[in-house]
């Protein structure tokens, strides 16, 4: 599904209309849509660059800063350890993804390739949990975090509840299913253990599906707001979304500083997106037929 077939170029050649005119119309349309998706970010950026004499809000609104400055960024950077929020987010995302993929790829193998009593039952149990909103588990999850696991106000609280994901299990199960049985049988005849087959034969083959699951889980973890804001009290442990919420509370009236903070917070994932766009788009969109 990742090989996207481009539309046949002969179709366009056959069109009666002059191509440049039709292309121009398409670009206008595409540009208009891009304006809508990008404008809010540009507005943030421009506000962040505004100096003290520029109006943040005015009628008619002022878009470009007349007195551009980087001072807002400097001030936010000095007052709030955004780099620490970033490291916290990174730590949580990496560990969540690694553990989640480990657990999911182990569980998906027997579901795809083995016959055993109870398989149907487990399958439908997993399917049922796919539907349940995670938010419903937050109240007992909170009590577990405080009373049982003692990881309230630590980063582990953001990792452990997200190691199980029925979605990833189904995604990887689908990938395993497309692996020919001959490949597994050949390895079994050679005397490889199931664990060896899983690690040495299957995982390399399903790497694209693993990448898909990884990106999906990483973006979800990176942007999570509700659960992390329930679990984290200590400011040094804040992730980027929680930190940005706190920042907004700190600088209530100063929209220039809030904008500068927001820009700094979204920068890491934007950079990741620019460099690994293919993985993002395939990873998040390619899950359809899973």
């Amino acid at each position: 599904m990742s090989t996207l077939v481009e539309p046949n170029s002969t179709t366009r050649a056959r069109q009666a209309r002059p191509t440049w005119l039709s292309n121009l119309l398409w670009y206008l349309l595409l540009g208009a849509a891009a304006f809508v998706t990008v404008m809010p970010f540009l507005w943030l950026l421009m506000t962040a660059l505004k100096g003290p004499t520029d109006a943040v809000f005015s009628l008619p609104p002022q878009f470009l800063p007349r007195d551009p400055t980087l001072a807002n960024f400097v001030r936010v950077w000095e007052q709030l350890a955004i780099w620490r929020f970033f490291l916290n987010s990174l730590f949580v995302a990496i560990l969540t993804v690694a553990l989640n993929l480990l657990v999911s790829s182990l569980a998906a193998y027997p579901l795809a390739k083995m016959r055993f009593p109870g398989r149907e039952l487990i399958f439908y149990l997993l399917l049922a949990t796919l539907i349940v909103p995670a938010e419903l588990t937050y109240i007992p999850g909170y009590i577990l975090a405080v009373r049982v696991f003692n990881y309230y106000d630590t980063l582990w609280a953001l990792i452990f509840p997200n190691i199980f994901s029925a979605f990833n299990i189904f995604l990887l199960r689908q990938a395993y299913k497309s692996v020919p049985n001959d490949l597994i049988d050949a390895a079994r005849i050679d005397g490889a253990s199931e664990l060896r087959i899983w690690w040495g034969v299957l995982l390399p083959v399903i790497r694209p599906a693993l990448a898909t699951a990884a990106v999906f889980s990483a973006v979800t973890s990176w942007n999570a707001l509700l659960w992390p804001s329930l679990m984290l009290r200590n400011r040094d442990l804040y992730t980027l979304p929680v930190g940005l919420t706190a920042l907004r509370g700190m600088f209530t009236a100063d929209f220039r500083l809030i904008s500068a903070g927001a820009i700094m917070v979204i920068l890491p994932i934007l950079i990741a997106f620019v460099f690994a766009q293919r993985y993002f788009v395939n990873g998040l969109g390619g899950a359809v037929k899973g």
Partner: protein
Amino acid sequence: MSIKLQNRLTPYLFLLPALVFMAIFTLYPLLSVGYLSFTEYDILSPPQPVGLENYQKLLVDKIFWLSLRNSLTYLLVTPVIIVLAILLAIMVNRKLPGIGVFRALYYIPVITGSVAIGIAWQFLFDGSGGPVNGLLISLGIIQKPIIFLVDQRFTLPIAMLMTTWMGVGYYMVVFLAGLQAIPEDLYDAAKMDGCNDLQKHWHISVPGLRPSIVFVAVISSLSALKVFDEIYVLTNGTGGILSSGSTMVFYLWKQAFKLQNVGYASAVAMVLLVLTLAFSIFNVRLLEQGEE
């Protein structure tokens, strides 16, 4: 351990870690929240069973009904997002120089995260001179700026608009993959039959996208039912004037974690669970129809 027994245990051992985590973090919490919904509980002192009291209170709780209504209203996002995402997918499904840049630009809101986007949207809709007010005034639609974020009529619609805007790029990619799976000769045949561009898409793209449409309908409606972030960030955690933007999950959060009415919040959670299950059954029916 004998080889035979070991072979028989193998599938379960592979499944074990996942099942343990599922039991602790999904199944146990669901049972527990069900139990707590019949108690009065503030986390500090042990839960006191109160029978059906929480559910009886829900029946006469105006904010609860408002939250339920808002969550159901939120489902309107689904058809809107489907139409917009299909249009975008058709737009970017052509071989033009730089088309990849446009795809990427439409995708940025998907990955940016709700807090930063919420801040940007608060600016856009600011009542003292945000660009939306500026635009509406310059077009002559309104005379005076509207205080969008404090006006209870606008809290929910703006949140829904934000959800649509954040999600449409993701669903566009889903539909793009669907479009590219439609055989090109179908379009050629349609052209020979004298279809114009619009007819071509209506008669071939839309039916061809049916599986993707069902998938998107399921995913986006389930996420609409549990919306929280948009409300939280747009209203700075207040839910809007008189809770005008409160949704089921928002109300659950407020009762449990702001007001410490954990038992009551659990009852809200149970209603949301029933709602989600009912909706999923409806969705499964839809899926089965689609597969016929």
